[in-house]
Symmetry: D5
Subunit: 96 residues, 10 copies
């Protein structure tokens, strides 16, 4: 089941650079693990913003929430979730 997830990150100006870097490094590792197992299907940067547009492929809303709320940057994210489904005009097999 597919969900469009848009995340905007706002780190506090007072966070030390080292702490921010460590958070981003762990975030990247977690994200790439989810991409490797196919759960985080697409990930794009929004031009000019510290934000992304993502497509998640999960078995349940529960699983989606566990993944998102477990991200290291989650406490600093503004997250918007939109449920998607197959479009009747689609011809791509994996845009289910």
């Amino acid at each position: 089941m597919l969900f469009k997830v848009e995340m905007t990150v706002r780190l506090p100006a007072t966070m030390p650079a080292a702490e921010a870097d460590a958070l981003k490094k762990t975030e990247r590792e977690v994200a790439q693990g989810l991409m490797r197992d196919g759960t985080w299907r697409h990930l794009w940067r929004v031009a000019g913003r510290y934000a992304n547009v993502s497509i998640f492929d999960v078995d349940s809303v529960e699983q989606l929430h566990q993944l998102l709320s477990g991200l290291p940057l989650f406490p600093y994210m503004d997250v918007e979730v939109v449920p998607l489904c197959r479009h009747p005009s689609s011809i791509r097999d994996d845009d289910r």
Copy 2:
């Protein structure tokens, strides 16, 4: 180059059903042609709305505008375009 495009369709209540059906049929044919040649990379239905989330892969903004403004349903669409680029954490080759 990738762009997220979100389209919401609002047909006038006064449009005869036959005209609406003809428009939608042509729209579908045009859309599938663009999907076949790889320009309209992804197309999903937004659950509960007459709207879609799409990803276009084009060579220029000009090409994107020609494609969108040439859609049969364009006069009845509310369209929002967001430019995307490769995310540094992405591991998918085609999410460029």
Copy 3:
């Protein structure tokens, strides 16, 4: 899987009363069918508005979209869908 769905109905002022009544009657029958089979779990009227707050229990986003877009009043509805999941503090078994 649970989704909160909020529907606001806007019938065109020009729709004949008989047509509106017929639509509402069919809508009611379809809605009650979905309530009987447990898919449309909760349905409340928003005070002072021609709108409702609903909770749907479905197996997939696809099923949710089929149900919503098949409602007789769908062409006249503004629909907002929010995916829900079990709250860690919940003690109700069926608020999964």
Copy 4:
């Protein structure tokens, strides 16, 4: 009488983890007490957010305000209240 209540929690970035944990623990105990006595009828997590959708069943607006403003996390919540009533198409006895 039923009210839909949507709560979004925003803890200050400067709150020590121990203080946040203590607050959440007490919040959970208070919430479960209200769920046990039937006042807090439904509680769901909004996917991807530190927020919930709830249904309260109270005797008066006064009682609702006392409950909400007495929650340990209330000072950090953005709360939206919408009064609900029985929908004429409902067939569930307890969706009054």
Copy 5:
């Protein structure tokens, strides 16, 4: 129980003047009946708008919705309902 209700009226430009006048006359009679029995406690015009700010005193949300949805101008109104309760600093006995 008190609710603040704000109503904005938008009559279609195509409604014949006679029909509009008849609707407004009936609306006035219904409103004054509700004011006389104490249900519609306060009614003020918003300066410069075809809109009002009202305070209703009802026994239940159900009763409030019946009153509002039964108003002759209801199909042409945009209605916003906010539940109120006694303020701890109030010294007026009837601002309960």
Copy 6:
């Protein structure tokens, strides 16, 4: 002359409890003085929020601004003012 005033209070998280309590106590005394002399005609709590809906009866906009900007909590308030006037359908003598 009547004005609807809606006030939302946002105390900084860093304000010591004693300072907040002192401010609220003075606010209450000032508010009750204004209620006693009839200037602050109505005061209700908005359910679930640290906010109120008020009706002020003043001789001029100048007087209204002096009262509001003199409130102890004014620096922490978001204030919205809407001028009201007698509604032609009103039957209450004091809803002038």
Copy 7:
């Protein structure tokens, strides 16, 4: 007493030109009468819009509403009213 009033005019596309012209001519006469007696103190066009920014000087909110709701174009206007008062830094005698 001064009020800033912003009016945006939206004439229906179906209104015959002669009717629109007659309305605008009467509007102009009424407006100029109010300007001559000092009630409509300032009137400016907003660049690029069929809208104005005005300052009214009235004895009461009631008078303001009578003037605004009596304008020939009132049924086609979106009106926003903001109460003003003398600024402590002002040195102009008539900006009271």
Copy 8:
């Protein structure tokens, strides 16, 4: 050339009172200088807010920006600028 300028001031809660007072005093002197030379034509307080509505009469947008960005409180202001021009119905010579 006239511009409507609306300024809302938000001083940080942490600014010492003496610093705030000094800033306001200088602001007042600068503002009164501009009013004396006719550049800051009108200045009104918005009732219930730390905000003003102003009309500036300048020779160029450049001059307007220099004046506004040179105000002592500018770093703490939210500023909105709307270009105005003479209204065809105006009869005041100086509302050019």
Copy 9:
């Protein structure tokens, strides 16, 4: 003096194609005349919308309003005007 002007065109669905074509043709001629004399300095299409972003170079706000309100499509446009001035970091002579 420079102004950013954003125009969104919304032709009524009921306008005959011939009338729309004639309007657009005249609009184009007027626009190109203004571009030739340097008043309409820049004109770009917004991708995916029937809208443009423009830069006007005028001697006064009055002139700007005359130009905009004289455009054949003006009655069907939503127009937003933002006054610009030279940026201190600019190195382009004509971005004054």
Copy 10:
């Protein structure tokens, strides 16, 4: 390829003046370098705001994001990007 970019800068009130000045100086040097090589085609100040309207001419969205996210003030900017294309009515060769 052209993009309209609107940047609003919000420096934290706690940033030391020397740090802010150094940031602005570097920002200016970077910006002027991009203007010299033709990438940052236009740059205007928004009157009354610490904000600009810019037009970028880039080969790809990727390049645009690299430029924007590399600006020294980027962490303190709110950035909005709108893709533009040549307008069919344009007569300027370089408004491609």
